[in-house]
Amino acid sequence: METAFELAPAIVLLPLAAFVVALLFGEYMPKKGAFAGIVATAASFLLSLYVLAAVASGGEFQETYFTWAAGDALSETGETTIEFTFGILLDPLSALMLVIVTLIAFLVHVFSLGYMNDEGETGLRRYYAELGLFTFSMLGFVVADNLLMAFMFFELVGLCSYLLIGFWFRTESAPSAAKKAFLVTRFGDYFFLLGVVAIGATFGTLAFQGDGSFVAEASSAIDANETLFGFDAETWVTITGLLVLGGVIGKSAQFPLHTWLPDAMEGPTTVSALIHAATMVAAGVYLVARMFGYYALSPTSLAIIAFVGGFTALFAATMGVVKDDIKQVLAYSTISQYGYMMLGLGVGGYVAGVFHLMNHAFFKALLFLGAGAVIVLMHHEQDMWKMGGLKDKAPVTYYTFLAGALALAGIIPFSGFWSKDEILFDAIILGLEEPIFLAAYAMGLLAVFFTGFYTFRMVFLTFHGEPRSDAARDPHPIGWNIKFPLVTLGVLALVAGVANLAPVGKLTGLEITYLEFWLDGQYGGYADLTYSEYGDTVPFETTYIAGSETITLLIAAGLGLGLAVGGAVFAMVLYNVPEPVPHTENLGSARTVLRSNYYQDEYQVWLAEKFTLPLARTADRFDQSVIDGVVNGVSSVSLFGSSRMQRLQTGVVTNYAALIIAGFIALLLVLGVLGGWFV
């Protein structure tokens, strides 16, 4: 067990080594360094399983490896020094996330062998190197034991996504999408960094765990009714918590900073899978889970998280309905699903949120890789209207994709159903007590219908009906390296729900909510980072419909499932026909709004190009004319003055002599007057 923890740094560092190896020697290696990445992520995955087992057998681990900076700084709560360190925190949450991230990174590496290498692609060395760096950054983020380290790797994740989204840099669109992704998330990270600075300056520590953690400090500050930076402690905790949330909203693509994510589809599909399932986008929600104890101190921030989540879930789902590009549909589904996770965490459903994070990682990776397989089949065509009829030609892809779709739509018994149901259940029992959460719940519930609809619209358009293009009639064959990840993830999408069959457990009384026990530290973990500890902190009351948990459970599950099936059936009616037609045109002006993504891009582009840029140009003109004008003005005045003065210098010696004499006499007179000679 000790060994597992001692090896933990290797989990993080192996992909970094793969990055270095691929960057330096990739050109000389078979498959341009792919195997370095595959070996490294496979080893990381095995080590992560080892760590998971160690945590399961009652272990927990925190160790500081390296002091980044240390110095004197008087914090608001009276600490006089502060240390910024790099350390590893292994508890149930991070151990679980390690397994998810390394597994998906490994599968994406394998999948890339088929997806990237077959196309005569240049820059593969760069691709595999960046993939390694991406995995390294995310793993570093996952194991971070303090907020600053988390922020640093959070930023590195952003850098890697920039590099990978812009992988095809010779096109016009990919670099633009990469820039947008970095810039929009950077805007969120501005708030995050401010939050990190504020929390550090307030509590004198940034540790996640332990008696000296900022969570514990904040808790005692609230208990002692302290005043922090002119606010009472709880308000200040809310403010700083929301600042950190800014980074989450950016990275997890929540409203209003979600606009970068659909554009990010410009990157290779493998990268999309990695970004959406396990790394960049997951980082935001993971951060909320990581410092859930801090948010639990502030009901206001929880309510905001829940509301943002619920709204985003619905908002993104409606946009997914009208998209024609298979990857675009998946992109909006990602935004929507992360909205669910935020909703779950916001209503205090820590387990539900993490559960959905895990399930989503599997089925979204599956769907993206499946979409990647479809794109390979279709000779790099992404428009669903040009597909159709792939069901019989590519059965492996079809059935695995279908498994992912069923999970995404939340159809029993696929994994997505269990976690989504749990989120909605947590939301409704809280919403019955506090109406604001009921609104968030309602949005989340409504989104279930749209999710079911767009998911199956995608499935039917892609795989069913008659082939609508030559490529669809004669698909490109796919190899084992594509099928293997699909099958692995397909199985996981089906069975991952077993981890936490909460409704079954409640109905039958069986103790089968393993994930809840796991996150509650019942197998191992730190006492202050457990579900029940958070539950004690969260100040919410809950109510059941008709006072019965069972009835509420059944109603909630029935509503969710019914809507999901309803959406799926509606999609089937409209699109499961041999020659489907675009029914979206019937939506009229609503379609225009939806296809324009509610004009979210427009106003953000307007802010950048029509507001900030002209402002900058105005500033530049001001600088050139007024400020530099003054500088040049001083010089002009001096030059003009001297051009007048220089006329004194006639070049005639006699005049100089006269001037000297006149000056001498004047001086004599002045001295004389001052000296009193003439009195």
């Binding site: 930023e155 840099f169 990919a174 530049d620 400020i627």
Partner: protein, 506 residues
């Protein structure tokens, strides 16, 4: 005597290079510059000082004081020494000069011996500025830096080089005059017998100035503080005294830009730290808000100006204004992390801006244009140079594990908890927004020039940059990452010298 050796070697090297034939001047200057670089690194490892050079209890490393001139009641001495603030800057100077020399091999093709001689001459004087502890000596070096830089811009510069060189020279010279006058007034109103900075500082802190020329003591202190601040502000530069900088940068040849942004700007902040923020703690407190306002304006306004530019060099030049605003913010925070972070930022910005100017220079060598609108897709043609440019740009944006992030983080952290500055969190939040704008303009510029389909408006064949153009950038990148991963390499030393300023123990 180590410092004297360092100075003597550099001056002698400058002279030798002047006399060398043009053909070998570049290589010779490089070989010579390795000596001060090695020496300064040796000083770095042998450093045994502690505390602040100007304050009581400061143990200087390599200290040496010899009376030079006696002027009536005052003594001028040759007084050198190093502490944790000046040593990193000396190392920065020598390393950056060496790299700048290598990066000039391609672009400089006339009067080479004079060019490299002047570069070494600048280096010697810059070292002098950072090691001098007597005001007179310091001032001589300070002014002597201007002359070679004036010549570098004026002789080897771009089309508007005369305007830029004269503007640079006059602007900074007028500022020096203001600063010199103020310092003389200070010395004459204090009970001191020399121009040695430690003596002046301690006299300031133990009693402060008496009335001078009919003006009361505290008023003298305030006036001197303001005048010195303005004098140094031009050099930094802070808004609104910044307009010489973009002109000078745009016209200067690449190595001159590297030195100008990398080290010359740091003279201003170094002097601010040494004089204003060490000698005048009361005035710092009194003028905290106006100075913080200036800092925030420098950051945001500088970044906005950079956003409007289409010349790559102008973008980097204006972003220097922005970055130096952070230094001022850190200084005015007057906390360990604030002032320490400001010092760290001096080094870090020296490295990063040096890297950026080199990278832009390499692209210019190949394309003969710096306009964003004139090119796109450069990543296709010169992948390595562009890769480094991207790395440098992310360093500028404050990417973690690069020195820029460390510096900015320390500054923000120090500023947020400032006791001296009222509304410190608000100022911090405002200044921090600069990190978004900096990402904006650098990403926009990169997208337009480096990515997309290849296109170039000028008639030049673009090929990969030669090794000696790329190698110095690799060295800088390595240093940037090293300092970003382990800021303690110099931070410990800096804190040791900064703590006494803020009343801590040496």
């Amino acid at each position: 005597m180590m410092i004297e050796t360092l100075l003597a070697v550099t001056f002698a090297g400058a002279l030798l290079t002047f006399l060398a034939p043009n053909r070998i001047a570049g290589k010779l200057a490089f070989a010579i510059s390795l000596i001060p670089a090695g020496l300064s690194l040796w000083l770095f490892t042998m450093f045994d000082g502690s505390g602040n050079a100007l304050l009581e209890g400061g143990e200087l490393a390599f200290e040496n004081q010899i009376t030079w001139i006696s002027l009536g009641a005052y003594e001028i001495s040759w007084y050198v020494g190093l502490d944790g603030i000046s040593l990193p800057l000396v190392v920065l100077t020598t390393v950056l000069t060496t790299l700048a020399i290598v990066s000039s091999w391609t672009p400089i093709d006339m009067r080479e011996s004079q060019f490299y001689g002047l570069v070494l001459f600048i280096e010697a004087n810059l070292i002098g500025v950072f090691v001098a502890l007597d005001f007179f000596m310091w001032f001589i070096f300070w002014e002597a830096v201007l002359i070679p830089m004036y010549l570098l811009i004026g002789v080897w510069g771009g089309p508007r080089r005369k305007y830029a060189a004269i503007k640079f020279f006059i602007y900074t010279n007028v500022a020096s005059l203001v600063m010199f006058g103020a310092f003389m007034a200070l010395v004459f109103s204090l009970d001191v017998t020399s121009f040695a900075l430690p003596e002046v500082t301690q006299a300031m802190l133990n009693g402060g100035p008496e009335s001078f020329a009919g003006v009361g003591g505290s008023t003298v202190a305030s006036l001197v503080f303001i005048a010195m601040f303005l004098g140094f502000a031009v050099k930094v530069p802070v808004v609104p005294f910044h307009t010489w900088l973009p002109d000078a940068h745009v016209e200067a040849p690449t190595p001159a830009s590297v030195l100008l942004a990398g080290v010359l700007l740091k003279m201003g902040t170094y002097a601010l730290l040494r004089v204003n923020f060490t000698m005048f703690p009361d005035q710092v407190e009194a003028y905290a808000i106006p100075i913080a306002v200036i800092a925030v304006i420098s950051v945001i306004y500088g970044a906005m100006l950079a956003l409007a530019q289409t010349d790559l060099k102008r973008i980097v030049a204006y972003s220097s204004v922005s970055s130096m605003g952070y230094v001022i913010l850190g200084l005015i925070a007057y906390t360990n992390f604030g002032v320490g972070g400001a010092t760290f930022q001096m080094v870090s910005h020296g490295l990063i801006s040096g890297l950026m100017f080199m990278a832009v220079g390499v692209i210019y060598n190949a394309t003969h244009t710096r306009m964003v609108t004139d090119m796109s897709g450069m990543a296709d043609k010169m992948p390595i140079a562009v890769g480094i440019l991207i790395a440098g740009a992310f360093g500028y944006m404050g990417l973690p594990l690069m020195s820029g992030f460390a510096a900015e983080y320390f500054i923000f952290f120090g500023a947020f908890g400032s006791e001296v500055l009222e509304y410190a969190p608000l100022f911090t939040a405002l200044a921090m927004f600069g990190i978004v704008i900096v990402a904006g303009y650098l990403l926009f510029a990169m997208q337009r020039t480096l990515f997309g389909p290849y296109r170039l408006e000028t008639d030049y064949e673009v090929s990969r940059a030669p090794l000696h153009d790329v190698a110095p950038m690799f060295v800088l990148l390595g240093l940037i990452i090293a300092l970003g991963v382990a800021p303690e390499l110099i931070l410990e030393m800096i804190f040791d010298a900064v703590d006494p300023i803020l009343g801590g123990d040496a």
